[in-house]
């Protein structure tokens, strides 16, 4: 179970992304962060903190649950239905630049669902994608704007991002998971 990122490297990657966001958007006006549940949310909050430390401004931060937009939601008899949690976007996304945040970019299907969900909240001026890890194997034409780490993987491997807020530890590890069908169910 090789560790590919520890707490230090994770924190440095997020600080670097915060600087890139500032550089690319020339300031924080009209920016907002939206984290995809579950682990995109704490990453979005950390980015908000990093941006405030650099620039002194608060960036509005929200949480998006994409379950009801998944393309595999009713395709299988998924035994238990995925648990739905609250979407909290306490600001108007109209004419804002939205930074969509997730932990791992893989097939791109989660991001496709998130784009559909976001657009039901209004018409943002632009949506940019931030991911902590890009592990490749895209199935849709989707590309991240900010990447913490590019991680070449095989389809048999599984990338686990663990965060202090949820898992009690900051790390990214690669596990070899050969559960047949699990990739489809969770893509």
């Amino acid at each position: 179970m090789p560790e590919v990122m520890d707490a230090d490297r994770m924190s440095r990657a997020l600080t670097r992304i915060a600087h890139e966001i500032l550089e690319r958007n020339r300031g924080l006006d009209e920016l907002a962060l939206v984290g995809i549940r579950t682990r995109g949310v704490p990453i979005a909050r950390r980015l908000a903190r990093a941006l405030r430390e650099i620039n002194g401004d608060d960036v509005p931060t929200g949480a998006l649950d994409i379950t009801l937009y998944r393309d595999d939601l009713m395709r299988h008899a998924v035994g238990p239905q995925p648990v739905i949690r609250r979407t909290e976007i306490p600001f108007s996304i109209d004419d804002r630049k939205i930074l969509l945040v997730d932990d791992v970019l893989y097939t791109g299907r989660t991001i496709r669902a998130a784009l559909d969900a976001l657009i039901d909240f209004g018409r943002p001026r632009a949506i940019q994608l931030v991911v902590l890890v890009d592990r490749g194997h895209r199935e849709l034409p989707i590309k991240a704007d900010y990447v913490g780490k590019n991680l070449p993987t095989s389809l048999k491997e599984s990338v686990q991002v663990r965060l202090l807020e949820i898992d009690g530890v900051d790390e990214v590890v690669i596990e070899s998971a050969e559960l047949p069908g699990s990739a489809e169910v969770n893509a």
Binding site: A77, Q81, V83, I84
Partner: protein, 329 residues
Amino acid sequence: MNVDTPVSEAPAAAGVQRLKSRHLLGIAGMDAAEISLILDTAEAMKEIGTRPIKKVPALRGRTVVNLFFEPSTRTRTSFEIAEKRLSADTLSIATATSSVTKGETLIDTVRNLEAMSPDMIVMRHASSGAPHLLTRIGRAAVINAGDGMHEHPTQALLDAFTIREHKRRLAGLKIAIVGDLLHSRVLRSNVLLLKTMGANVCLCGPATLMPPAVERFGVSRTSSIDEAVEGADVVMMLRIQQERMHGHFIPSLREYFALFGLTPERLRRARSDVIVMHPGPMNRGVEIDSEVADGPSSVILEQVSNGVAVRMAVLYLLAGRDSAEPLDA
């Protein structure tokens, strides 16, 4: 969401994540974990109603039939809105416009509907057990929207959801249920649910409208509304169901109001943060004074809007269960 993390391992998702049955026929047989799952899911569904576009694609391509053999405005429209917000294709059939008026039997009506292969049927019927019969005729998942004097599970769930929003819990609360207890399917579903969740329930009504042997449900009973309301966290008023009363249960509506009507004076015996509920439709001046119904303690209209969120939760949780083979997820 990490695409590699099975949803079932998500930390906030501890506990059960599925309903045991693929139908919702009643609260009877459900455990506390299943009830909590529906109420938690409803919390997420409620947010959808606050969006500019109040619609998610979860049930796209699913067909839901609302089959109402008894008049209903609130429940039927609530189900219809819930279905539309989940993007299901819906159609509503009311008895007045259906072949039932031409003498078709329930079984024939349902068989004909089944031939059009709906995924779910929401049913209201004047006979207790009619939805259970439906589950044996067809393949569709069945949701009981009220059967005779038996159960009305989604009403009890939306009541519990409303209580939980205000009190943050159900266990340990003192809940007074006052009114026509005998003819009420809302009562049965509510008592089963509230006892399962650990609330203390006190029933109050005239002896003629008190079902026999209610003590076996673990509830207390009284014929004094003052005693029932004393120190209550929640007062739930039930409608006097004149359409089901084929006999003399109460001397007059005016006398009923004098003895059992909820007035501002009587409500002062309850806790200061009491909430007053009513499943509707209300008989103002019979079971409840207008001043209470429209007063600051009343959550009666919240119940109606919460009904949509709770029914969305039920539709969503049952929709994923309508194929027989579970996947290894």
